[in-house]
Amino acid sequence: MSDTLPTKPGDKVFRPRRIKYFHLKRVLGIPGLFSAGYGNVGSSIYYALGIVALTALGATPIALGAAGIIYIFNSLAYAEGAAMIPEGGGSASFARHAFNNLVGFIAGWALMLSYIATIAISAYTVPPYLSYFWPVLSEPVVSTLMSIGIIVLLMIVNVMGVKESSRLNIVFIVVDIITQIAIVVLGIVFILRVNPGVLMENMFGEGNWPSTPNFIMGIAIAALCFTGVETVSQLAEETRKPAERIPRAYFLMIIVVLVLFSGISIVALSAMTPQMLGDPVNGWGRDPVAGIAANLPIAELRNIFAPLVAVLAASILLTATNAGLLGISRLTYNLSTHKQFPSIFSRIHKRYRTPYISIILFCVVAMCLLIPGFTRPGFFSDLGALYVFGSLLGFSLAHAAILSLRINQPDVPRPFKMGWNISIKGKEISLVTFFGLIANGGIWIVILITQPFSRWAGIAWMVAGLIIYFLFRIRKKSDTPDWQIEREKEKGL
């Protein structure tokens, strides 16, 4: 436009960006992926073992084994999904690609609930482990106050965006795995081998075997041990060669997690009765691994392992709390950029360049979840059930999405494809996904029926999310010109 001509009201100046596409540097490898994934899945043994023992009693190792099979299904489904769709968002992304924005949002919102529960439950289990050094931390009021303090501290740290070293994370995880292996080996050598009858008594003895409904419930709660499977797929967009590395990281996690979890659960039941293992007030319900260390028969070993487990468990649980916080802020941003969630939640702080609104808001929600802890220490099993509610809904939708993509988009490149396929009307259906969907959905329904707290809190959370979603979509539609709606439809937004 010539400078001599006056500017008309309809004139627009369009300045195209010189560099239209910036490059994303993807540097994560298998160690980075594994440490992030194991940091989340592996941390759950530090609290979930006690919650499972509270319900499944002597059948705890068997309940964990059954949940472990479902964990394999979930890992394989996520490996296929993340290798096929290497973008952050996990099940929310799979569901958006397979179905539509609404289902994608439901999966993402359920995942958010599980992240909030991770933050709350991980922070809540740090003080019991540290009570080895300061016994006052086992008091409910002090313990809950400290848990809330941990969340406040991490909230400030994450709003300011302090750097996190992935190398340090890997070192932590390696030390953690070595300690867990040492505990399992020492437990087998000094406890189980000396008197194998104790394990049989603690599992099948009178009053130790659960009723059938409790056993089923135990399997459902045991799913808590394996809920961090989402973490690796969330990092898909940061992974170099995701098609190769993500499935490998999942396989490595399956082996390590299943071997260590089964070993720890057997050693735990060799070292103490299931009642002691699950009791959150007078037993080791909130710090089960510390219980194993405290029950080692040789004083020298106890003196080494009890403080080591206390420090390691506290640090791993802190890492898991932080991972939940990072996960939820990234997921919120992901949903906002795909027009599934109000953009205010992805607003970035001018100075610190972090999504401060979502970090603060979801930390406050996690802190509110901890309030019953002041009066009722046993409430953390309710928190565990709420975690399972959110995670399993997300997993079920992930399986459904992978199944739907197999049927509706069979030609999309799948660098990793699950086995056990059957052909129906020319479509290749994976039995792993089918059984995964049935198992996750079934356990979710069990939780819904038997757990009143997670039922009402979970349903309230989902309804609140849907109200936000529909209000946001209606408002967005009325604010957006028709041509833009058409363009967004074409783009699939």
């Binding site: 540097k25 540097v27 802020s329 941003y333 360049r353 972090t354």
Partner: protein
Amino acid sequence: MPYSKILVPVVGTEVDGEAMKLACRLAKNEKEKEKSKIWAVSVVAIKRALPLDAEIDSEIKRAESVLDRVQSVAEEEEFEIETDVLQAREVGPAIVDEAVERGVSLIVMGIIYKRQFGQFSLGDVVPYVLKNSPCPVILYQQ
């Protein structure tokens, strides 16, 4: 020495221009001038609370203006360069990774004199690049 491919990471300090001039002169020394290539990159570090593909407009615009400046410096030296904005979690690994990916024969970095706790400090990016670079690195300090 054969410096046919040169990478110049820029951060927006005054010394960026000088580093670019140095890179252009080193490239010109080559007999086959037309084959020498210079890339200027500006790395936007994304915090872990955000996905890696988060578009922080202010940061990207800043990175672009920094690249614009060094591009004009290169034009004054009668050299055509390529520029790129990278988004990464950490700056050091992104520079090294870019150098490996592009197969560069030299990295030229401009640094300024800065102090941390009363001591001269190179920060954490320069030592990382010096330690992990696949090729020679020239530091230009103003």
